[in-house]
């Protein structure tokens, strides 16, 4: 599949071919949706690397293989390393194919961050897509470095003394950008056209590219499976997540939310936040305010 660069991708012109199907992901899984649509942009010639995690567990169980593409499960800590190894092998054999890594929040911001840093630093072309569902879901909803403040997980339960996770999310997008990467972007499965076009830009980048896509998990977050897209939109609209790009050494915001929007409907729609008290919600709003003050000041 070849895509004309000048055409903006949307639901009408994206291919109807499927490259990821027959998998066993939960209904409403944001992560599998991100993979499915990214592959429609990347095409069947992309070679994929994924760590052991939800996406591997739902798609590589012998004898049922859910990827039409070439794909490999990597040791957990090494998604970016395996993907760049694939890229080096393909280059050495004079095969002109993309190498693309998909990993979750834990596989990216925690255990895989060293390998990702090394891979970006080497500067060879590959794409890394972090599907962020804000906890270790495959092992049963444990806290990761990308779990937001206040969220209840099985390792940060809503206790009597400590109410959920007490740390805000790691700034993974900025950590990646600090490498001077060719292209990096944040996205959300609530804004799929934006996501697909960022994948297309990553594909065209002359070097490593990174996309961080916000991907709700009904099982881990405790929301109805038909609310995935709505929540992924709402989180952008209320400013708890942001759509941005880093290109040619500069940050750019793609969408400015109304920061007076109430965060309560978003939080109360998910079991993981139901325990929050007013003071916790005020803290979440304060964190939002700080982040946006920084972004608006520095990324214009």
């Amino acid at each position: 599949m070849t895509i004309n660069k000048s055409i903006q991708l949307n639901a009408r012109n994206i291919t109807s071919d499927e490259y990821f199907y027959g998998h066993k992901a939960c209904g409403g899984c944001g992560e599998s949706l991100a993979l499915r649509l990214a592959l429609k942009v990347l095409g069947e010639e992309a070679y994929l690397s994924l760590p052991a995690g939800c996406m591997a567990a739902v798609s590589f169980i012998y004898p049922n293989m859910a990827f039409k593409n070439n794909a490999i499960i990597t040791p957990f800590a090494s998604t970016a390393a395996v993907a760049t190894g694939v890229a080096a092998g393909l280059k050495a054999l004079h095969k002109d194919h993309l190498s693309v890594a998909f990993a979750g929040d834990g596989g990216t911001a925690d255990i895989g961050i060293q390998a990702l840093s090394g891979a970006i630093d080497r500067g060879e072309k590959f794409i890394y897509i972090c599907t962020d569902n804000e906890a270790y879901m495959n092992t049963g909803i444990q806290k990761s470095g990308l779990t937001p403040f206040g969220a209840s997980t099985t390792t940060t339960p809503a206790g009597k003394v400590i109410r959920g996770n007490i740390k805000p999310k790691k700034n993974m997008f900025e950590i990646v950008a600090a490498h001077g990467i060719k292209y990096a972007a944040t996205a959300s499965v609530g804004y799929l056209e934006d996501f697909m076009n960022k994948v297309q830009k990553a594909k065209e980048a002359d070097g490593p590219a990174y996309i961080h896509v916000f991907s709700p998990c009904p099982t881990g977050w405790g929301h109805e499976s038909d609310q995935t897209i709505a929540l992924a939109k709402e989180v952008v609209d209320n400013g708890l997540w942001y759509l941005a790009e880093y290109e040619n050494g500069r940050f750019r915001l793609n969408k400015k939310p109304d920061l007076s929007n109430d965060v309560r409907p978003y939080l109360k729609g998910q079991a993981r936040f139901r325990h929050l008290k007013d003071e916790d919600i005020e803290n979440i709003e304060a964190l939002r305010g700080e982040k946006w003050a920084q972004m608006l000041a520095e990324w214009q």
Binding site: S49, N70, A71, A77, A81, A88, G89, G118
Partner: protein, 394 residues
Amino acid sequence: MSRNAFLNGDEAVAYGVKRSRPNVVAAYPITPQTITVEKISSFVQNGELDCEYMHVESEHSAMACSIGASSVGARTFTATSSQGLLYMAECLPYASGARLPIVMMNANRALATPWNIYGDQMDVMFLLNSGWVQIFVEDAQEALDMTIQSFKIAEHESVMAPVMINLDGFVLTHTYEKVNIPSQEAVDQFLPTFLGAHHMMNDEMPMSMCISAGNQHNMEFKIKQHRDLLRALEIIETIDSEFESQFGRGYGGALEGYKHEDAEVILVTTGSVTGTARVVVDRLRAEGKRVGLVKLRVVRPFPVEKLMELVKNAKTIGIVDKNISFGYEGTLYTNVNSAFVQSGIKKETYNFIGGIGGRDITKDDIHEMYENLQLASAGEQIDAVTYYNVRCTL
């Protein structure tokens, strides 16, 4: 034309790698492996070797990058040592289970703690169960030759397993010897371009690799892998014979005997200590003592039958271990004893543990080992496990 050069073990491996024309090399530096990766880097940067050299940020990524490169059919090499080997350990069964013919040099070095940079074989013994072919070499020439042979073993369609070549740290990695470097044309003839394999990722038939298999299927994958590794013994022998007929240097396959045929007592060694033992055997033979030597070159797959054949005439066997399996004995001793049990052959066996943390195993030590074996052979009681050159009370 082949040429002679004055090389240390690390450099010899690097020349073996150069002649094997890898597509990808991914490595992280660790003493005493560094000279190998420095030399390969210089080959690449001077345009003498056309390959993708990956400057990885850790040993874990060295192996992970190797897995990625090999999974698309690229001939891939890496090198490590000691803690580095243990750091990448998680990745080793991915490589062997996915049947990836990666070749790796391991400079055998002491482990923490207390750690140091000198040679013993504690590191590799952790990984005997990793599904990798484990080769031990005695000198720099063998290191170069086995690097070339290793690619052929690993890539053989019936083997399809990664190979680890073990060189004793410093004693072998940093000691200079005269080494013959075969010509590129001769090596190309022996080791053709690797064309990949059907189970690897490819454009014609996309593959899913490093898959998951539930309890209905998992054991069969593992048993087939194990069976193929056992069968690799025969291929290792054949490839060594082919190498010998082309280059005039053979190593006896999985095991090499030295003055073993009529020996009453035999010492089993791995790696560089073998060279020291040869000198002692010659000295004792001159005194009329019936002593012999068996050099264990391949520890996985374990050459049970051939070992039994080589030691069949001996009465007493000693096994030199440069490692301790804490809480038991030397690892090779356990392995050799099991070979006797499997074969239904009864021999007196003794374990000589030495060289830990880089302590020398001297000619005098080996002389003493032979004396003890002879005493045991004459019916005297000696300890099953003896520790050499220990400066504290046991």
